[in-house]
């Protein structure tokens, strides 16, 4: 598993008191892990800090609400970590 996945899973576990072993690449952060919107803000804050990025949470949420993206695209762990890797790359480019 990727370094990003391990770091994000650690953050989620520490922030939301979800057992670390319950978090897998296929976990849906909302549907499977039960993370609510306020806990998600804490998680995004910690991820932003850890990776020096700014997750565009508003635009992701808007895309989902508008029906232009599924929640899986952004909120399943492996996809979330992929998006984070893209943001890190874009930041360092």
């Amino acid at each position: 598993m990727s370094d990003t996945f391990d770091k994000v899973a650690d953050i989620i576990s520490e922030t939301s008191e979800i057992p670390r072993e319950d978090i897998t690449p296929d976990s849906h952060t909302i549907d499977d892990l039960g993370i609510d919107s306020l806990d998600f803000l804490d998680i995004v804050f910690a991820i932003d800090k850890e990776f020096g990025i700014k997750i565009p949470l508003e635009s992701w949420t808007q895309e989902v609400n508008d029906g232009n993206a599924s929640t899986e695209e952004y909120f399943v762990m492996k996809n979330l970590c992929g998006k984070i890797d893209d943001l890190i790359k874009a930041n360092s480019a």
């Binding site: 803000l41 804490d42 700014k54 635009s59």
Partner: protein
């Protein structure tokens, strides 16, 4: 400061866009209906209103930092410490510093002192949401200006 109207800030004293820091001040009123219940014969400013005071100071910081584009709503209080009692007529000096300006949220650290003595502090989380109406945005800008925020930080 009018506790019963949730007007917790008398004056915005400064806003530093580089340090992303805002300072404000207030004086706890001598009388308020709130003191009739909190507590009869022993008036004390309720701790929740000290948190509200820090939240409003942080709220104007978020507004100024983001150019009044969205309205911040208090969503979380972490490590809130209420260190001492606050009596009527106590002068308060508030400070809020931006910790993180996220997408759809902001995190601040806020504190209140009186005559140099620390009264309370907390880390506050805000959800930032689009203005529901233009009236709401205009009212918040007007209040910021009336409290002393420089016009250069309040878009017209």
């Amino acid at each position: 400061m009018q506790l019963e109207y949730f007007q917790m800030i008398d004056k915005i004293n400064s806003y530093d866009p580089v340090e992303r820091k805002l300072a404000a001040s207030s004086k706890v009123p001598q009388e308020s209906p709130i003191f009739e219940g909190h507590f009869p014969g022993h008036p004390l400013m309720p701790g929740v209103l000290l948190i509200e005071t820090m939240a409003q100071t942080s709220g104007y910081l978020v507004l100024a930092t983001t150019g009044f584009e969205q309205m911040p709503f208090l969503a979380g209080v972490k490590e809130g410490k209420l260190r001492t009692f606050v009596a009527p007529e106590t002068p308060l000096e508030m400070e809020a510093v931006m910790v993180h300006d996220g997408s759809g949220f902001a995190i601040t650290k806020a504190s209140i002192k009186s005559e140099g003595k620390k009264i309370c502090d907390a880390q506050l989380t805000f959800k930032t949401l689009p203005w529901q109406t233009e009236d709401f945005s205009a009212m918040m800008k007007k209040q910021a200006l009336e409290m002393g925020m420089k016009a250069e930080f309040v878009p017209s």
